[in-house]
């Protein structure tokens, strides 16, 4: 019997457990691996119980990996162990990124990459969204093993794939002090043009470029390449996914092609526990890992 593993990340959001239910109803998974943050064990407890129950009901093995999502070193070791020990023999792996922090997504994909395997990325929208989801971000950090190749005599170019607001990008400016910044954002975003309000020391070197951050197609990746490639020769390139979740996948694909590109993230200090409700449309993406 083929081993089919669903990897999901525990959350207080309804779409976490609803996503498990939907996945289990659509495919004959043999295992569910739930990654859970020990910092938010209480907040996710109820929905983890529900997910465990759903797995049990479906006769699927359920296991939880609980650790500190904010400790990069621990995350790296856990994701390496997951890739090398738990998933090495799996015939099919589905990674549900709907409630996953970008750190884990990038680290797991990075850990799986040497095997050159295929993985299904699943993303489920919520049925409804509140006004805000997270705030109180910490210091921007480069991801272990996806931090690119950086040189001490090059200026920095920041490529920020943004959502409606750019406050996280400001933290990136403060941390990396880029000489050049590309803010890629959907022209339909409510606050498009917000960079005009940035302090001048940032604004001078910032370009705001219309871009579909939700499109992970190769055509869109090529478009991203066209923007980033001219920067690589003269800059250290730091890329950050600060808006739609799927933009993290696009950046991962970019970093697979160009070892020079470093991926960065900002951890949120506060989450809106009522940020979403229900579950909306799900999308699957087949990702071929390894050097492209």
């Amino acid at each position: 019997m083929p081993e089919i593993v669903l990897i999901t990340v525990a959350s207080w959001e309804e779409r976490f457990a609803l996503g498990v239910r939907r996945s289990l109803s659509q495919e004959n998974f043999t295992d569910v691996v739930c990654l859970a943050s020990d910092r938010y064990a209480d907040e996710t407890s109820e929905r983890r119980t529900a997910a465990r129950f759903l797995a049990s009901e479906a006769g699927v093995q359920y296991e939880e990996w609980q650790f500190d999502f904010e400790d990069q070193v621990e995350c790296y070791h856990k994701m390496s162990a997951l890739a090398q020990e738990r998933l090495a023999r799996a015939d099919r792996v589905v990674l549900d990124v709907s409630t996953a922090p970008r750190t884990l997504v990038w680290m797991l994909l990075g850990a799986l990459a040497p095997a050159g395997r295929e993985i299904i990325i699943r993303y489920s929208q919520a049925a409804e969204y509140d006004d805000w989801q997270t705030t109180e971000e910490g210091e921007p950090r480069l991801i272990i093993n996806r931090s690119g190749i950086m040189y001490p005599d090059k200026p920095t170019c920041l490529v920020a794939l943004c959502g409606p607001e750019i406050s996280r990008a400001e933290k990136m400016f403060d941390r990396f002090e880029p000489r050049k910044t590309l803010i890629l954002r959907d022209r339909r975003a409510a606050n498009y043009g917000e960079i005009k309000r940035l302090p001048n020391e940032y604004g001078g070197a910032v370009q705001e470029i219309p871009f579909d951050n939700t499109d992970t197609s190769d055509a869109n990746l090529s478009r991203l390449e066209e923007l980033v490639l001219p920067q690589i020769e003269g800059h250290n390139v730091v890329a950050a996914s600060l808006g739609p979740k799927m933009s993290a996948i696009l950046l991962f694909k970019l970093s697979q092609r160009y070892e020079q590109v470093g991926l960065s993230y900002v951890v949120s200090g506060q989450h809106n526990l009522a940020s979403t409700s229900g579950i909306g449309q799900s999308t699957d993406l087949t990702l071929r890992l390894g050097k492209q």
Partner: protein, 569 residues
């Protein structure tokens, strides 16, 4: 017309522009061209990077360095530490000893790469023999074959150093780094390279000044290593000039567990300077900066004429000063005496604010002196409103080159900037500051609102020192002190408040005092021109203001007791 008050980060400025705009500050420029180790302290925007870059070899060559500098042969090598290389964390996967070795290798190679980048521009000065000599010496130091051909030795060195930097990163990412692997060290790589360059005819006995910028961005191992190198007191070959933002929280311990000492191992230059009046050190510096920018833009009027004071405001101020003079005489002070001058200094401007109709609009904020005071002693804070004022005035007169910025334009920009700063404090601190919670942001907003109200109350009613706008914290052993200090540290990172070191009134010694960003005051109609002196506020009262929104009470007389008269605030 190009705006002469451009204030982009120094590394982003056009090199010629940086050279044209740089103002030599003789208070510390002699240290920059000395062979001593130096630490430059200053918050963001205080001009640290500009100072280091200006003294780097590349820029020295561009500005055709003076003969004396050539004779001294001080070669400045600019080494920025805010590159993403410093933000990498792969080394944390390894044991502590390996972390230290990688930290040293990366720092060493950063210096070598930037050394090669800078020296390339001077390669033409080498004789053919010296070029070959350096090619061999560099290859020996890097433990590589001497490259074929007769390429520039510095280009080859840079290529090799960059290849080494890349190789380390790839080995770390591939988990291929072994604890026993050889890595580059300062003693085994940088020193031999410097010695080799000094052995050439063109650079015989040159001294290398390693200009380390943003050292606070180095990782903890690298900071300790840098401190160890600062501890080398034999400075014939090299010295270190290191810029740090946030020296108060910087750890000066070395890689071997020791500590370096100011005076013995290094000299400190503080770019965080108090600003009290037009003759203060910063006041003079600010005037020179703006005058040079105007002149370079072809505007031949002095800063005070380009940013004139509102005539109506100046007239009312003169009247208030006259009233203070009359009051001083009525108190029995002899005109010209110290008591008389002190009274008029403290009460002249205060009288204007006190006599205003409570229903009147806020005062007009104009004049170069006011703009200088509003900068709180930070050069970027000075340039930023000037930049916006210039744009606004140019637009107002249909794109022509302005000969002045009208007072109402200045006033409008100042009040807008003040509102923006309050908007940051009241609504956006947690978005802007890493690790700041919504509650922290709200507490900081309450604290600074109460402080503004306190200083306003003081301006209107305090008997002896009405214009004080800085404070010290008393009763620091109170349990609330750490809470207040934490909030103030966050506010300092957002540049809402600046922390300076001054002479303590209690038993001499030094103590921190707090200077709120003066751009906060226009929203509350306060005087941007503070006076010498500090209010003494109790830790528990500050915490009550932040936590429970309790007003800070003003003891109209006793508050300034024990403060003396003239402070260095």
């Amino acid at each position: 017309m190009r705006n002469p008050f451009e204030y982009d980060a120094a590394p982003n400025l056009d090199p010629q522009q940086l050279i044209d705009w740089y103002i030599e500050d003789f208070n510390y420029s002699r240290f920059m061209t000395s062979r001593r180790n130096l630490i430059i302290n200053g918050e963001r925007g205080s001009g640290k990077s500009m100072t280091l870059i200006y003294h780097s070899l590349t820029y020295a060559a561009k500005r055709q360095a003076s003969e004396s500098e050539h004779t001294e042969r001080i070669i400045g090598i600019y080494v920025p530490c805010n590159t993403p290389l410093s933000s990498k964390e792969e080394h944390r996967l390894l044991p502590a000893i390996s972390q230290m070795r990688i930290a040293e290798a990366n720092l060493t190679l950063s210096i070598v790469t930037n050394l090669a980048r800078e020296m390339k521009y001077e390669a033409a000065r080498l004789t053919a023999g010296d070029r070959e000599f350096l090619r061999r010496e560099f290859a020996f130091a890097m433990e590589v074959e001497v490259p074929e051909g007769d390429g520039c030795p510095f280009d080859e060195l840079r290529r090799q150093a960059r290849a080494r930097v890349r190789s380390i990163q790839l080995r770390l990412q591939g988990a291929e780094f072994d604890q026993g692997d050889a890595v580059d060290t300062f003693l085994m790589l940088v020193l031999p390279i410097l010695e080799a360059i000094r052995a050439t005819e063109a650079f015989r006995d040159a001294h290398f000044s390693l200009l380390i910028d943003d050292a606070q961005d180095l990782n903890e191992h690298q900071r300790r290593l840098m401190n160890s190198w600062l501890g080398y007191r034999e400075n014939s070959v090299f010295s270190i000039k290191m810029a740090i933002a946030g020296i108060r929280t910087y750890d000066f311990s070395t890689a071997h567990g020791g500590s370096i000492l100011e005076g013995h191992d290094y000299v400190t230059v503080d770019l965080q300077r108090p600003v009290q009046n037009k003759d203060s050190e910063f006041g003079q510096f600010a005037r020179n900066v703006i005058a040079k920018r105007l002149l370079n833009a072809g505007i031949t009027v002095p800063p005070d004429s380009f940013f004139p004071v509102s005539k109506a405001f100046a007239g009312r101020l003169d009247k208030a000063k006259g009233q203070a003079e009359a009051d001083a005489v009525a108190r029995g002070y002899t005109p010209g005496s110290n008591q008389y001058r002190d009274y008029v200094y403290k009460h002249g401007r205060a009288a204007y604010f006190r006599n205003r109709d409570p229903k009147a609009n806020k005062p007009v904020y104009s004049g170069f002196g006011t703009i200088t005071h509003l900068s709180t002693g930070v050069i970027r804070n000075l340039l930023q409103p000037c930049f916006v004022m210039f744009e606004r005035q140019t637009s107002k007169i249909g794109g022509k080159a302005p000969r002045e910025v009208e007072p109402d334009v200045q006033d409008d920009v100042v009040k807008t900037q003040s509102d923006r700063l309050w908007e940051l404090i009241e609504n956006n601190l947690e978005k802007r500051l890493p690790n700041c919670t919504v509650e922290d942001g709200q507490a900081i907003a309450r604290l600074f609102t109460r402080l503004a109200e306190y200083f306003r109350e003081r301006l209107l009613h305090h008997a002896s020192e009405p214009r004080v706008v800085t404070f010290i914290i008393s009763e620091r052993d109170h349990p609330d002190y750490p809470r207040v200090e934490r909030l103030l540290l966050l506010a300092e990172r957002a540049q809402v408040v600046y922390v300076r070191l001054g002479t303590s009134k209690k038993g001499g010694g030094r103590e921190n005092y707090y200077v709120p960003n003066r751009m906060l005051w226009p929203r509350y109609g306060l005087d941007a021109h503070g006076q010498h002196g500090r209010a003494s506020l109790r830790a528990q009262d500050l915490w009550a203001a932040a936590n429970a929104n309790t007003p800070l009470a003003l003891d109209r007389e006793a508050d300034s007791k024990g403060q003396g008269s003239l402070f260095d605030a």
